[in-house]
């Protein structure tokens, strides 16, 4: 006899099963519909047509990003995910076989039975690993609550009861062929039941298995299982570039608290805690957990939308978005972007947190004093430091700097940035850059008094209106003077010009934006300038978040360092895309946390531990925070902080090494 698939063997009550299955499926579809409504109640973001299939395939099917830095987590996820998918496909195949065309016979059936057995084992092994990882290896640093146990145990229970059913069937009525189901065969072989006993037990376990499976299906869209749908959808979004900002008026007209994408992110989250593990604020002991922030925002959206199996009426007065994340936590994020690149599901807690900030800034409620002062300064003085317009070119005193408004005919703009222009210590950086440019015959003009704040941290703080206003002024100035290329020593400016302005002005996308380290890399290529040896120095390089993670520039500054004679580069434990934030981004420069160490101190300590003589960075905020950290953490005298540009300028022929 040819092997075939047994369906409803020993189960007479098909009608009861089908009624239950219909209910479960109905609840499942209804739940999916409710989720869909919840997502589409969010405002739409503007997206371009380009699409990154590779990213989606690599992340969704191979779980590539889960393995990074956490192989056990990767294996766990792959086992559960593929176990689930294979068993689901197996059920679909069996349904087709039973109702439409009978094809699960012969060798195909034998292979099918074997693969499904393996998938069941994979699923159970995955759950076992998940517990091993949580409680024995403790590799994931996870936060586990009841709902996580329910999900894991339910998956395990469904697989286990499936095997029981299989084993008892094989015990009660061994088929005429040898069934390639190792687990079922093993259960059959160890079972002590006689045939009638096995028949009865089979029937009982069959119903337990069925009810457990149907419960899982019905509960699926209402639980964190929604991750299974939301995460791939979110990864598809991730593969589509954001093409334009909504204007304030468009955003206002759309109402709603969070965007559709942000809502999907909240549902895609499984609370794996990777974001919090890498969060610099959390690492410094501050009361911020990006994971918890996403969870809180998700609960907020579900509450506001009346989401549930039995829909609740949404509250009469829509809850305020500004309260979606804890009052202090929402101001602690530095928007360093580490959570975003760490998240396998491409969730961006920092975007959700920023959205909360926009609501607070708009209502004027719960805006920290210093941050408010900064925003008012940017509004009034066009820079965060209350610097007078007349002093914006003070850094250039005694130098011959070409200014566009004074008639400089150049296509390249050297954008100095507020902190480099007004901070007396940091004015040395644009001065150094000017010296290098002069030595290299590198042509440029500056905007001078026309230059206004890039406003990265204004947007980070959620004051989009002010950001648009200032960005508009810079974009106008670039256009007025025919600027085709921008070089800046400030990564915050660079990120804003390269990644944000293109979403505001069509012409901005065509403008080449370089960080000064990239310009120096070009200038120094092939040993040009003949930099002189100023002695052996061990340096470590701190990747500024807005240059590295946010703009993808890691090698240029390192290549520049390598081309300086006598400089030996030592990498810190956390570098490149895993670099630890100094605490200066997204407006955090102006917010104090109620608890925890200064992030700059944490980084200064890590840098000092390398034994380097100099901590080199390439960002005014990183400089300030790490320099402060060196002093307050007691490393003064052992290590100093310098900007990359200064280090190069010191080695220019004819200059004194400082």
């Amino acid at each position: 006899m040819e092997p075939f698939r047994e369906v409803f063997w020993n189960i007479p009550d098909h009608a009861i099963f089908y009624s239950l299955a219909a209910v479960a499926t109905g609840v499942f579809l209804y739940g999916l519909y409710r989720r869909y409504r919840l997502w589409t109640a969010g405002w739409p973001e503007k997206r371009g047509r380009s699409f990154d299939w590779k990213l989606v395939a690599g992340r969704v099917f191979a779980n590539a990003s889960i393995f990074r830095g956490d192989p056990v987590g990767g294996v766990t996820h792959i086992l559960i995910m593929w176990g689930f998918i294979v068993l689901f496909l197996g059920t679909v195949m069996s349904t087709i076989d039973h109702w439409l065309v009978s094809y699960l016979t012969g060798d195909l059936y034998l292979a099918y039975a074997f693969v499904l057995d393996i998938a069941g084992v994979a699923l159970m092994a995955g759950v076992a690993l998940a517990y091993l990882r949580r409680y024995v290896l403790k590799s994931g640093k996870m936060v586990t609550v009841i709902r996580d146990h329910v999900v894991l145990i339910l998956i395990f229970f469904v697989s286990l009861t499936g095997f029981m059913v299989e084993g008892l069937r094989l015990r009660a009525a061994p088929p005429l062929w040898s069934e390639p189901s190792p687990v079922g065969q093993w259960i059959a072989s160890v079972s002590a039941l006689d045939v009638p006993g096995a028949l009865l037990a089979h029937r009982i376990w069959w119903w337990i298995h069925s009810i457990a499976s149907l419960s899982l299906i019905a509960w699926f869209p209402f639980s964190k299982f929604i991750h299974v749908f939301a995460a791939p959808v979110n990864l598809v979004y991730e593969g589509m570039e954001s093409s334009a900002f909504l204007t304030l008026e468009e955003r206002e007209a759309l109402g709603s608290d969070f965007s559709a994408r942000q809502r999907i992110m909240m549902d895609a989250c499984t609370q794996c805690n990777r974001c919090t593990v890498v969060c610099p604020s959390a690492a410094a002991g501050e009361p911020l957990s990006p994971r918890a922030a996403v969870d809180e925002a998700g609960s907020f959206v579900r509450r506001a939308g009346g989401f549930g199996l039995f829909p609740k009426r949404p509250p009469a007065e829509p809850p305020k978005r500004g309260t979606a994340v804890g009052p202090e936590a929402a101001w602690l994020c530095t928007t360093c972007g580490h959570c975003r690149i760490e998240c396998p599901s491409a969730i961006s807690p920092m975007d959700i947190i920023r959205e909360v900030r926009t609501a607070r800034v708009e209502s004027g409620e719960n805006v920290p004093d210093n941050l408010q002062e900064m925003l008012e300064s940017v509004y009034k003085f066009k820079n965060p430091w209350q610097g007078a317009k007349g002093k914006r070119m003070d850094w250039a005193a005694g130098l011959d700097i070409p200014v566009f408004a004074d008639g400089a005919k150049e296509t390249r703009c050297f954008y100095v940035g507020c902190t480099f222009a007004y901070d007396e210590r940091l004015q040395e950086v644009p001065r150094s850059a000017a010296a290098i440019f002069a030595a290299a015959g590198y042509r440029y003009g500056v905007l001078g008094k026309e230059e206004v704040c890039c406003s990265e941290f204004v947007r980070g703080a959620g004051e989009d209106g002010l950001f648009f206003e200032l960005a508009g002024q810079n974009i106008d100035a670039f256009e007025r003077h025919g600027v085709e290329e921008i070089v800046t020593p400030c990564p915050h400016g660079m990120h804003t010009f390269a990644n944000e302005y293109r979403r505001m002005a069509p012409g901005a996308a065509a403008r080449r934006v370089l960080h000064v380290s990239q310009a120096l890399e070009e200038i120094l290529r092939g040993g040009a300038l003949g930099l002189e040896d100023r002695g052996e120095r061990a340096v470590t390089y701190h990747d500024p978040c807005f240059l590295g993670r946010r703009s993808g520039v890691y090698d240029a500054p390192r290549n520049v360092l390598r081309s300086i004679p006598g400089v030996r580069l030592i990498e810190m434990k956390r570098s490149r895309e895993r670099s630890l934030c100094c605490g200066g981004g997204g407006g955090r420069m102006w917010v104090e946390a109620s608890a925890g160490e200064k992030m700059g101190e944490v980084r200064a300590r890590e840098a000092a531990e390398t034994g380097a003589d100099i901590i080199v960075t390439a960002c005014p905020f990183c400089f300030t925070n790490i320099d402060d950290g060196v002093k307050t953490a007691g490393h003064e005298g052992r290590v100093i902080v310098k900007d990359l540009v200064e280090l190069v300028a010191e080695c220019l022929p004819g200059r004194d090494g400082a």
Partner: protein, 263 residues
Amino acid sequence: MEILVCVKRVPDTADAEVALRPDGRGIREEDLAFGINEWDNYAVEEAIRLKEKHGGAVTVATIGPAESEDVLRRCLAMGADDAVMIDEASFRGADPYGIARGLAGLARRKAYDLVLAGALAGDDGYGMTGPVLAGYLGWPHATLVTSIEVEGKKIAVARELEGGLEEILAVELPAVLTIQTGINEPRYVSIMGIRKVRSKDIPVLAPADIGVGAGEVGENANLLRSLGLSTPPAGAEAVMLKGAPAEVAQRILDIVKERGGVA
């Protein structure tokens, strides 16, 4: 409670290098940042808080150039109900007596319970407008106010005195109060908030609307006449240190050592 708040657009000169105009009667304004007078900002916030607590409406008013509209819009975004401007032309060059005269005319147009003004303006620093306005109106006034408690038709106000003292006054309404900084924490006004009040009408009143006749205010009617501005010469003991921060710090240390400040 009907409240009128008098505000002024002033340049921020705290950190700017202020240069005199060639005629010596004013300062060069090109590179200066302008905004609401700091004291007035507290006054507007206080008025809005009183309204939020006791009901009524807040009107903000200014006598100033057309650019002052930005300041008024900002006040509307903060939560003021109405804003009104007085045509500046006839007030050009007016001293605080003239300005107060105009504001008094405005205050009589509606039954206000309270008129608030900043204790001082950041540019000329006279600190007179409020008290003179009270004089024109014949209302009681209190200066340097750091808190306001409403008790029926009376208010209790705290005044900041030197030496860390505080005076509590009972004042009959209607009254004029000049507000000291620190009375509250003014809220943040977002650009979105300002945009939302963009289309709100801000009437511009002519002198006749506020009962001011031609020639009654303005430079020629002034009781105070500014003879000129100048930068005081550095005293004999003053030394201006210039140079890099490290050099300046070293020089300070040297000077302190020289004079026996540290061993």
